[in-house]
Amino acid sequence: MSENIASQLRKGILQGFLLILLDKEPNYGYGIMKKMSEYGLGDVPKGTIYPLLTNMTTKGLIKYQIQASDGLRTRKYYYITEAGKAEKQVFSREWLGISRSMNSILGEENE
């Protein structure tokens, strides 16, 4: 049950998280996964990221460019778009509001 709640919560915030991450710096699939682990989202199934990235690209929130990586390899780097930046602002605002409410009620409970 608790796992299900965690998974639902993560699913809801993942797009916002990726927008914030990509606004910091463009990144590619595996690089994004590593960053997610650094920020404590290491247990998110990595397979869920690909449909999300495709969906965000289709919606115009991010775009990609094939760039040379180490040696002869090329990587698909994702960049945030202007529409993505606007969506990120909306998400950040909503998230701050929700987290304030949650912190407030949880704070009362712990008092």
Partner: protein, 278 residues
């Protein structure tokens, strides 16, 4: 070479770097995605497939299995990805037209070799549309089999026999349409019209083959077009036609020549495809 072909070639060469376990995992995923994306833009799908392959290779370098790296059913991931790619009307129409055209040409070629045969364009169109729809259904079933049916039918022989019976049942109506449906759009290709159509088809195939990206793979099609095209030209020479169709021996010999032509087409296809898979 167009961009999706370049992506496919890059995928083919990078895939060799996968270890055996990851190769099995990724190949299933790749086939499922390709079969399930016939209405999607090919470059978009190939781009995603290559991206995932690169990431699996990165994970492999850190000793993480593809299965563990995905952390979720590959079928579910593939379904979610396919859902998030919009359908491409242009690509779907292009594919349907290619299918219909190939069907029409492959039906027309053996008929051309018989100067007395009548060609029913209407029934050819009906059968072509049915074949395209049936092929889509078969592709869907094959894709489904990768993650669902294979689990229940572990015996390879049983699986292949089931596929063969299913595909035959789905494709059988094509022959019923070709033999029993008659439309007024019927014409004969004897004399000069037949010669002109044969020359046009052969010229068309030569141009198509010279411009194709994979000449080796497409060679059997060119071979069939040239063999049947040349046969249809020879049989339309008045003296030859009279000699062949005057006696039963001539008719039988010509039937054998057509059979040999058909068999040699299958042999050439088999050799080419075997060489490619090696």
């Amino acid at each position: 070479m167009n961009s999706s072909q370049k992506l496919i070639e890059k995928n083919n060469s990078l895939r060799k770097k996968l270890n055996l376990k990851n190769e099995v995992f990724y190949s299933d995923f790749l086939i499922y995605m390709r079969l399930g994306s016939i209405t999607k833009k090919e470059t978009v799908v190939e781009n995603i497939l290559l991206e995932i392959l690169e990431d699996i290779l990165d994970a492999q370098r850190e000793n993480i299995d593809a299965n563990k790296y995905f952390g979720k059913s590959p079928k579910m991931v593939a379904d979610d990805i396919l859902k998030s790619i919009p359908n491409s009307i242009t690509d779907t129409v292009k594919l349907a037209m290619t299918g219909l055209f190939s069907f029409a040409i492959m039906t027309l070629l053996p008929v051309l070799a018989n100067p007395n045969a009548k060609i029913d364009l209407g029934n050819m169109i009906f059968a072509g549309i049915y074949t395209c729809l049936a092929s889509m259904l078969i592709l869907k079933q094959v894709a489904r089999s990768i993650y669902v049916i294979n689990r229940f039918m572990s015996n390879k022989v049983v699986r292949y026999v089931t596929y063969f019976v299913l595909a035959s049942a789905i494709l059988a109506p094509v022959y019923l349409i070709l033999f029993f449906v008659k439309t007024p759009l019927t014409f004969s290709l004897n004399g000069l019209t037949g010669v002109m159509v044969s020359v046009l088809i052969m010229a068309g195939f030569i141009v198509w083959w010279l411009r194709s990206n994979d000449r080796k793979f497409n060679f059997p099609m060119l071979f069939a077009a040239l063999v049947f095209g040349i046969l249809s030209l020879i049989i339309r020479i008045p003296n030859v036609q009279d000699t062949v169709f005057r006696s039963q021996f001539g008719k039988n010999s010509y039937a054998i020549i057509i059979m040999v032509a058909l068999v040699s087409f299958y042999v050439v296809s088999h050799i080419v495809h075997k060489k490619q898979s090696d």
